[in-house]
Amino acid sequence: MKNNLNFRKHLGYGYLALFVVMLSLSSCSNDFLDEPQNTNGLTEDVVFNSRQITESFVSGILGNYKGQYANVDTGGLYSLYFARVIKGNDLIQAQNWYTFDYGHENREPNFRRTNFNWDFNYQNVNYANILIQGVSESGALSDDEKREFIATGKFFRAFHHFQLVLDFAPNYNNNSSLERIPFYDQRVNLETVTGKAPSPLSEVMDLILLDLNEAIVDLPETRIGKSYVNKAVANGVLARVLSVTKDDWQGLSDAARAAYGGDAASAVVSSNWGAGFRDMQDQEWMWALFQNGSSETNFFFGQAAAMMDHFVLSYQATYVNPNFVDLFSSTDVRNTFVDFYGVSASVPWREYVSSKFAFAFDSDIVLMRKSEMVLLDAEAQYQLGNIPAAQNLLFTLQSERDPNAVISGNTGAALFEEILLERRKELYGETGVEWFDAKRYNRAIVRDAVHRIPLTVPVDSPLFFLKIPQNEIDANPNYTTDINIE
């Protein structure tokens, strides 16, 4: 009897324990798994649910322009420009970053210039399309806000497709039916990751112009700051595009004037010459990359200042062609050249360095200036046959920079050459106008013998554009390696 009781007692506890165990084993766990949240970032519905967060996406695109994408010379928007700068005859690059661009050999399908220029621009195109789609579908933004953000998106989409046309195709006017690059007007999804087929350049250019013209209509005059885009900046880009298509000189003049404000004399006044070209508050600067001086210090960024300034600790890599130096009068504020090292006897290309750019971590990086627009206007006037107008515009700038300047009596080809030379003198080290003009006007780049790498890039040479990246050919069924046969 006693045994029996004990047994029952024992059994009772045992089964209770078993029951508890089973209960704990089968408790519901979906809540447990749902609890961790992705704190890495914001999902799309959150981003487009407020003006503030949508604006920070625009800031992200612009922040990416000054970031360091891969290497110093394949960093952000600045490195795309400096690579063009260093391809000309006016500047000389030491064996340092950009040396392969300087040598015109950084264009093969696997090279970093080729990959970077392609990826960087197309990623920005996709960002633009995400912005346009996200804003369009937003239920929280007002119609006015939507129009403004969509215009911003179209600006970016046009701007980066234009860079791709410049870098990956021969001169647009030589064969506008050539199929080199695709135009994307939709964001990528899982079904479209194999890419689109390249379109004729003329179609790409039409879509660029369409986007820009629509952006100009809806972009406001005002903006958060000069890092951001507005109507004037969009007009400036339109002027550059029309200087490549060369089929609407009046439109180019209109766009340039809309960009610089119409009054050349006040437009060309700049506080940056002689002050290190580092302050975006200058009224003459239209668009720039803001550097606050503390967030950028982790990298020696690869913009012109870090390459060209020999007077502070930086790369000290860029020298100036002595023949280019000779083109400046001694009273020209743009004559920033000195023989710093005194080694020209043994290493002639190291004779001159420039103090145009002062490198500091808070040196803003210039992207567009009114003086460039004034010179584009002068070029348009020349092409329209308004020679005095062209001469006056040219002199407005020349006299502002050099008190001893005299107005040009040149006409015809000489005036044309003078305008292009003035672009080089005004804009050296910035966006690569020497290369840009050689390309759009089918001119050769003939380097002087003093160069570290003397060479000649013949008219319409394949060296004026990059090959299509191998990665694209591998993954996009619309490309074959034939695209790179020259």
Binding site: G14, L33, G41, G63, Y69, E108, Y122, V193, I224
Partner: protein, 1050 residues
């Protein structure tokens, strides 16, 4: 009918007889070991079939009440369980025989099993094996000791953890390394926080049947680390171990030329380039002499043009300096010190293990060191006859000087030795080569960017190689410190109830803190322009794991079953913080002293897994074993519709030698056949929310976004995630045999495995024009298969002399069985279906054209249809054909062999590990024969073999400063990487126990230990352990360490 009645009656009578004899009484006895007859405390004496039992006391005695006819089951870990039937006597002394391999208990997933019952592929390394090596990161002990484990350590930084691959590479983009389990829970800290002396055993679970209980994390194999425990009823044992020794690099670096030779070679390269530019030979030579120094920007001689137009040093030229960077950066005879105290023992109901270990070790590169203190306390208590509770705790802290010696960075020590030649001085000099002093009157490091007020100085100020840096400034003025703190605690309780049930509950908590402090000098180096920089990172990784396990074990005659039902909940949380500031006054190196905040970042994020597990093990008479496991896992890493997966395995084994028909086969002691199949998962190494498309702020797509005019910024990802992402799955098959012939004279295991991994988490390349670089999705499949052998022989085993040898090796193959695209070039490899992930793909070197010194490669010749009809050579690198070389970076065979000798008081243990058949692409070497396109870099003496004039037959192309492809990737730099390493040698002497007894000491051992003592390798100049892909990255070599030590035990 009558017959039946009679039979029943007989049976009844038998019961009555039984009952009448069954009288309760108390029997006593002493349990001893059969080997030496010493009493055995803590042995378990149980009345078979009941829960009644006890453990023997200090003197090995027991006393238990039984009925006549009961069976006493006496067991002890490491001893063969013995049964005695109680008869008339009241005293039963039993001598337990030492266990042979059959009765070994091995750690398996969520528990232990008798080795005999294992149906899968499991290898165990015990503390005795580990003791023979000096492994700062303890899993390095697996190299050369466990078949099927491919392990290498990249670089000589002490404390570096090895990269481990078990049975090949079953993933491409997710993690390929095994799951690490420490005392029952996943370990997420740094393995170098665990000191080797605390480890009782390392168990490597290789096949599906052994890992399937780890379900979604089991596909890459599992390593189970079990720490030491005390034993009940054992006297306290205090062990003191102390070791001291010195280390040197195990192998040398590549040879380099000195200053004069570098200048002569550079002159030759400039002259050749001048000729190529159209200059006459005489002009080319003269111009090379005059422009040489201008090209370097530095003149290490006292004359303006030290190399004459014949390419020789001019008379009277004297060196002003010649920098031996290797001598300045690599140390010799650095100390390694290790002290350890452990105390272990147990009373009647509680046992304990306590250990404290101190280690200090210096690495090959200056400033690289590792200092650690690690402690552990494991306590368990038998509360009553059904409940046991325990707690394991460990605390470890290490501090390590961590100069970069394995990356491609400019301030990486080895890279610096190779890329900055002896032409460049350590200390700043003026244009004439005189040492420049700073305002305090001291010399200072030359950063090669005109530092110290030398901007514009014509010579000796601006370096084209690593300008702005000086490695000595970086290492000596800067600071790279890593502090790792790890706390691990495991609490557990085990209750037995209802006779056959056991409920085990474990709770594990781990807190790992990684703290790095980096200071870049404010005067010299990259941060000098910002007044110095302090960067700090503090990451806290917390793991919480809870398991509830219910086990039912029973026997029905010859049928033995064991059933487990387990639930596991796991959470991994990382809480990271990083920040940097600039603007430091001299002498200040603390973050708070900075002037400008620079960067910051931090995130708290976690992932969870919830698993339900079941295991059923059955055996019939210990001959036929069957085991099945299943696990259902839910993971927060996948979308809610895709997060649950089921993983399972089945396995069986047959122990032939337990069959009655084998009883007469004397020579074969054990023969067992095993087979298993299962499907496992892998989700490691893919982040916390790989399926989500989120906009990121600070660091999207690995680009640092700085605020735009003070406004926050966001960007979407450039890798498109697949919201339908699921686990990788691996189907794994294993067939193996275990055998033991002539009582251990020859024993071993042979296994064949085949692992098919599908739905690989793969970054499918997108057309980059879409604005994304890839799509992260499930795609692709690989197969790994191979053979593993583990063989041992006890050649002699007498009291005075024993000698055993062992070898283990594996032959592993890897094959891509499915890819989302036809083929894909991944660095030096071509990935396509049918290829190995590790087969080199590159241009094939065809030597040097004797007529002009041009480098040549092979090129396929095709007919008009594009079919290859032959091949030719070309000097145009871009046109040369890329070939599948059929050479892979994985060895054909790799493993280890060991031998253990004991003669009286002396013992010797030797372990070699080896690898044959692998190839290595040595870009360290190719960088040293770059033909002087980059003047001022280090150069290998092989450059003197370069082609100089028509007719020269050589394998080294003409030197030139012009753009050339001579050292670009080709089979020219693909070398066989066979090696044998004497990984560990221990020579010991044990004082005779009898002599020590009188002074109260139970053991004194003196020993000498050597690690990486000797390395035989087919390709010199690098450590043979680089990486699995067979590429180099200027890694520092491992250390050769020789220490002497003593162990005292009382």
């Amino acid at each position: 009918m009558k017959l039946k009645l009679t039979w029943l009656l007989t049976l009844f009578m038998a019961f009555v007889m039984q009952f009448s004899f069954a009288q309760e009484k108390t029997v006593t006895g002493t349990i001893t070991t059969a080997e030496d007859g010493l009493p055995l405390p803590g042995a378990s004496v149980i009345v078979k079939g009941t829960a009644r039992g006890q453990q023997t006391d200090f003197d090995g005695k027991y006393s238990i009440s039984v009925n006549t006819g009961d069976v006493l089951q006496i067991s002890y870990v490491g001893m063969k369980t013995t049964e005695v039937t109680v008869g008339a006597s009241n005293t039963y002394d039993v001598a337990l025989k030492s266990d042979n391999a059959l009765e070994e208990v091995v750690v398996v997933a969520y528990g232990t099993q008798k080795k005999e019952a294992i149906v899968g592929a499991v290898s165990t390394l015990t503390s005795e094996n580990i003791e023979n090596q000096q492994v700062t990161s303890p899993l390095r002990a697996l190299q050369g000791t466990v078949a099927g484990v491919n392990l290498l350590t990249s670089g000589g930084q002490p404390g570096n953890n090895p990269t481990i691959r078990i049975r090949g590479f079953s993933s491409i983009n997710a993690a390929q390394g095994p799951l690490i389990i420490l005392d029952g829970a996943p370990f997420n800290g740094n393995l170098n926080t665990i000191s080797q002396d605390q480890i009782e055993s390392l168990t490597v679970l290789k096949d599906a049947s052994s890992t399937s209980l780890y379900g979604s994390r089991g596909a890459n194999g599992v390593i189970v680390i079990t720490t030491k425990k005390g034993r009940l009823n054992t006297k306290a044992k205090v062990t003191l171990r102390t070791q001291y020794g010195v280390s040197n690099p195990a192998v040398g670096l590549h040879d380099l030329v000195g200053t004069e030779d570098n200048l002569r070679l550079s002159w030759q390269a400039i002259r050749n380039n001048n000729i190529a530019l159209g200059q006459s030979a005489a002009d080319a030579a003269t111009n090379a002499s005059t422009s040489l120094i201008g090209n370097f920007g530095y003149n290490p001689y006292n004359v303006p043009n030290p190399i004459d137009s014949n390419g020789n040093l001019v008379d009277g030229a004297q060196l002003l300096w010649e920098t031996d960077w290797e001598d300045l950066l690599i140390r010799s005879d650095v100390p390694r010190v290790n002290h350890n105290l452990s105390i272990t023992g147990g009373g009647e109901s509680s046992s304990y293990f306590f250990s404290v270990d101190y280690l200090s070790e210096d690495g090959p590169v200056i400033e690289s060191d590792f200092e650690r203190i690690a402690t552990r306390l494991n306590v368990q208590s038998q509360v009553n006859d059904w409940l046991q509770v325990g707690i394991n705790t460990s605390f470890s802290r290490s501090r390590s000087g961590n100069p970069d010696q394995t990356s491609g960075s400019t301030t990486q020590a080895i890279q610096w030795i190779y890329s900055v030649s002896s032409i460049f001085p350590v200390y700043a000099r003026d244009a004439d080569g005189n040492i420049v002093l700073n305002s305090s009157g001291n010399r200072f490091f030359d950063a090669g960017n005109g530092n110290g007020g030398r901007l514009g100085q014509a010579f000796n100020a601006t370096r084209n190689i690593n300008g702005g840096e000086n490695i000595l400034a970086s290492l000596l003025l800067g600071d790279e410190t890593r502090i790792r703190t790890n706390f691990v605690g495991t609490a557990f309780a085990e209750a037995k109830f209802l006779k056959n049930f056991t409920f085990n509950s474990r709770f594990n908590y781990e807190n790992f803190m990684f703290d790095s402090h980096s200071f870049n000098d404010d005067i010299i180096g990259a941060a000098s322009t910002v007044g110095g920089r302090v960067s700090k990172t503090r990451n806290v990784t917390t793991t919480v794991n809870a398991t509830q396990a219910l086990n039912y074990t029973n026997s029905f005659g010859n049928h033995n079953i064991s059933v487990d039902a387990i639930m596991e909940a796991y959470e991994l949380t990382t809480d990271g913080l990083r920040t940097s500031a600039t603007g430091f006054l001299p002498g200040q190196e603390e973050l708070g002293n900075g002037t400008n905040p620079e960067t910051f970042g931090g995130i708290r994020i976690s992932q969870r897994i919830n698993g339900y597990l079941g295991r059923l093990a059955y055996n019939y008479d210990n001959k036929y074993f069957v085991e099945g496991s299943i696990r259902r896992d839910g993971s927060s890493q996948f979308g809610s519709d895709f997060r649950w997966g089921t993983f399972y395995s089945v396995g069986a084994s047959w122990v032939l030698t337990n069959e009655t028909f084998m009883e007469n086969v004397d020579w074969l002691d054990n023969f067992k056949i095993r087979a298993s199949y299962g499907e496992l998962g892998n989700n490691a190494g893919i982040g916390n929310f790989p399926y989500q498309f989120v906009f990121q702020g600070a660091n999207p797509n690995n680009i640092v976004l700085s605020p735009v005019e003070g406004n926050p910024s966001l960007l979407p990802p450039t890798s498109l995630p697949d919201p339908n992402l699921v686990w990788e799955k691996t189907a794994s098959t294993n067939i193996g045999i275990d055998f033991n012939i002539f009582r251990g004279a020859f024993s071993g295991s042979v296994d064949y495995y085949n692992k098919e991994s599908i739905d690989l988490l793969y970054n499918v390349p997108a057309a980059n024009s879409t604005g994304v670089v890839d799509v992260f999705t499930n795609n692709g499949a690989v197969r790994n298969y191979g053979w593993e052998f583990s063989l041992n022989s006890q050649i002699f085993n007498t009291d005075d002399f024993s000698w055993s040898v062992g070898a283990n090796f594996s032959l592993d193959e890897n094959e891509i069985t499915e890819l989302p695209q036809e083929q894909f070039i991944n660095g030096t490899k071509l990935w396509k279906e049918g290829n190995s992930l590790f087969e080199f793909y590159m241009r094939e070197w065809a030597g040097v054209d004797p007529s002009n010194g041009a480098a040549l490669w092979y090129i396929d010749v095709t007919d008009t249809n594009g079919d290859v009809i032959g091949r030719d050579v070309t000097s145009n690198y871009d046109q040369a054909t890329l070939y599948e070389t059929e050479k892979t970076s994985l060895p054909d065979i790799q493993g280890g062999f060991n031998t253990n000798l004991r003669y009286k008081q002396f013992d010797l243990s030797v372990l070699f590990n080896f690898s044959f058949g692998a190839y290595l692409y040595d870009s360290d070497y190719s960088g040293l024969i770059n033909g002087f396109a980059s003047l001022g870099s280090g150069a290998h003496p092989d450059n003197f073999k370069a082609w100089q004039q028509p007719g020269d037959i050589t394998d080294f192309a003409v030197l030139t400063t012009g753009q050339n492809n001579a050292n670009d990737r080709s089979t020219r730099f693909l070398f066989k990487n066979d090696y044998v390493r004497l990984k560990a040698l221990t020579l010991g002497y044990n004082f005779s126990e009898k002599a020590l007894e009188d002074i109260g000491i139970s053991r004194i051992r003196l020993f000498l230990q050597a690690d990486n003592l000797f390395t035989w390798q087919s390709h010199m100049g690098i450590d043979p352990e680089q990486n699995f892909a067979g590429t180099t990255n200027a890694r520092s070599p491992l250390q050769r360490t020789i220490t002497t030590g003593a162990i005292i035990e009382f």
